[in-house]
Symmetry: C2
DNA sequence: GGACTGTCTGAAACCGATTTCAATTCAATG
DNA sequence: CATTGAATTGAAATCGGTTTCAGACAGTCC
């Protein structure tokens, strides 16, 4: 594959350094990696040259001969979603601290792209793959995908923020049940009993688990569940808006709404405001994810936080450990915390 | 570097395929790339094996022997910022369409990380580097950074969403002046004369250019500029909030506020609401970037859009062209468009 | 001084692809 | 049937590193 580059600055290699220093490439390599001792005088000469030319070893060549590339692939549904971008950046920083780097792909909720990303990372010889969102969010995983993951796992560990049936992935998952417990306790301690759960889709595991715990919390406290208070839709503002509008068609309006995430919550706020009610005086809102959106809505949102920094570290650290062949716990849990802001308060109606 | 992997699935190579097919690796390579004709019968046999083993050629080895890796490095200030994430995803999609892939790093506004990213991409042998934000946003670039970029450019083209003095980078920049023209025309056509410009920092080029055009627009229409109506701060909600609070200390409150971006605008909205005024009846807001935030504030923001899809395509296409050594226009402009929403209206005071 | 040890060092093989070059095979032509 | 140009094919070199292996050299101990 020839190419006529206008910008033909000769790329300098380890051999160029070796030649100018009057040593062999092996010696330069040893200096570069500190993998063996080199006579001080030569070492200094080599170091000077490396510096002079600002020489950086070719990562492709290095990755080809080493067994490890020190790179972790991350598959995300969509970094434009603040939940994913927060988690991604947390991973990037954790990886950097450990001397690794990170490669990102977005599947944009297109299922083919998920498999493609797996292939891409396989070709790039990443040391481990972290998948956040997508198939691993689904309650039931289709077999062909699990099969693909299984076959990849024979060479590269896969870590997942969710679960994947029939593939021995490692999981780092949010304790959704606990998150919902926190939310319910908070609301009920404020005297709320008419509590709606708005947004999300029950075929998504994290939503389903939340719903289960929502039910259990009501039941254990003897509060009857009202089916009409659970309105599913999706995860964006528009969906939240429309779902909340449906709630306003009910004869009895709830005093509190649990939003599936901050994004949807922003739409819920809009609906409530358009109906002339105020938050939290007339209706309290609590949501999940505690992204920066929670800080810019009016009122600011009470939201369940996952400590993204720690979450990212858990993901990266288990990815690295697994890449090194160390035994890892199959399922680790992220403990949620409720961050109180302006959108929730005592029941007043 | 030895490594005992628990998951020791043997990685299969082009040689394994070749051997099982009873041909040479060269032949397999030709089938893989369609680079030369291969007898149909062998071709089929090879294709079957590739399929059977789900063989993917090692991208490192490929990149090492080819001159091109078909990869573009993207340096971003922070993907958590919706402006960058929108642009990044647009680039990713444009790249994919062209058969390239994309690598992301975030500098998190730490200047060392900017230089590090440059080095990283150099090692990874990306075909081109796109830098969005960071140094290339600064009005004056320090010499050492420009020097580094210049030296990198001898082997790898650098494309920038901004400018960089003393380095022959290619630029794809937003026409800030035109953006501000649109905003000013819009507001003035609604009868606004008391117009504030809130947020941002004048050492950032894009902000400074906007300010220049803000001044010119006032002047050319004979509206006196009021220094106290220009309040600088930063680009986040909190900064917008505080800056707007300062404006409320003035004896005469403006009828319109230009926010430096949607993010800051959300804070401005908060300040206005806390002062008991309504938008747009009492104060109109127009902002820049048209990120999804513009859609979730209450009211939704009138904001200047950059057509991220097209913007990303311009960046990627010139990156690819430059990587191929084609001559490119040194500076290309992105034409902004004003998207009208709920936050701006006719002056009423 | 000879044997032994430990420190440095370079040659060569290897990682997994691509590509050049020359050889071989093949079908068609006269 | 010999000739010829085109279609196939494989051996070997190459990309830029790392690592093994063995040799060279220096210092230490008896």
């Amino acid at each position: 594959m020839e190419k006529e580059k206008l910008n033909t600055g000769k790329t300098i290699t380890i051999y160029d350094i070796a030649e100018e220093a009057g040593v062999s490439a092996s010696t330069v390599s040893r200096v570069l990696n500190g993998s063996a001792s080199v006579r001080k005088e030569k070492k200094d000469r080599i170091l000077d040259l490396i510096n002079k030319y600002n020489f950086k070893p070719n990562a492709l060549a290095k990755g080809l001969s080493d067994t490890a590339t020190k790179t972790i692939g991350i598959i995300t549904a969509d970094v434009r979603n603040p939940y994913y971008s927060a988690l991604f950046v947390a991973c990037e920083m954790a990886a950097e601290k450990a001397g690794y780097r990170v490669n990102l792909t977005n599947t944009l909720n297109q299922i083919e792209r998920e498999a493609d990303s797996l292939d891409l990372f396989t070709q790039q010889k990443v040391d481990a793959i972290i998948q956040m969102g997508g198939r691993v969010d689904d309650l039931i995983t289709d077999d062909s995908y699990a099969g693909k993951v299984r076959s990849i796992m024979s060479t590269t560990p896969v870590i997942v923020t969710g679960k994947l049936d029939k593939a021995p992935v490692l999981s780092v998952v949010i304790d959704e049940a606990e998150g919902m417990n926190l939310v319910m306790e908070h609301l009920i301690s404020y005297g709320h009993e008419k509590i709606a759960m708005v947004g999300g889709n029950m075929s998504v595991a994290s939503t389903f688990y939340k719903y289960q715990r929502y039910q259990e919390n009501l039941k254990s406290r003897g509060i009857p569940e009202r089916g009409e208070y659970v309105v599913n839709s999706s995860y964006d503002p528009e969906s939240g808006y429309e779902a909340m509008n449906k709630i306003f068609e009910l004869p009895e309006i709830p005093t509190a709404v649990i939003a599936i995430n901050d994004f949807a919550a922003s739409g819920i706020i809009r609906s409530i405001r358009e109906h002339g009610l105020s938050i939290p005086e007339d209706i309290s809102i609590v949501s999940f994810d505690n992204t920066y959106i929670a800080d810019l809505t009016l009122p600011k949102l009470t939201s369940v936080d996952y400590n993204y920094k720690h979450f990212g570290e858990m993901l990266i650290n288990t990815a690295i450990a697994a890449a090194k062949g160390e035994q890892c716990e199959a399922v680790q849990k992220v403990e949620p915390k409720l961050v109180l802001r302006e959108s929730s308060g005592p029941v007043k109606r």
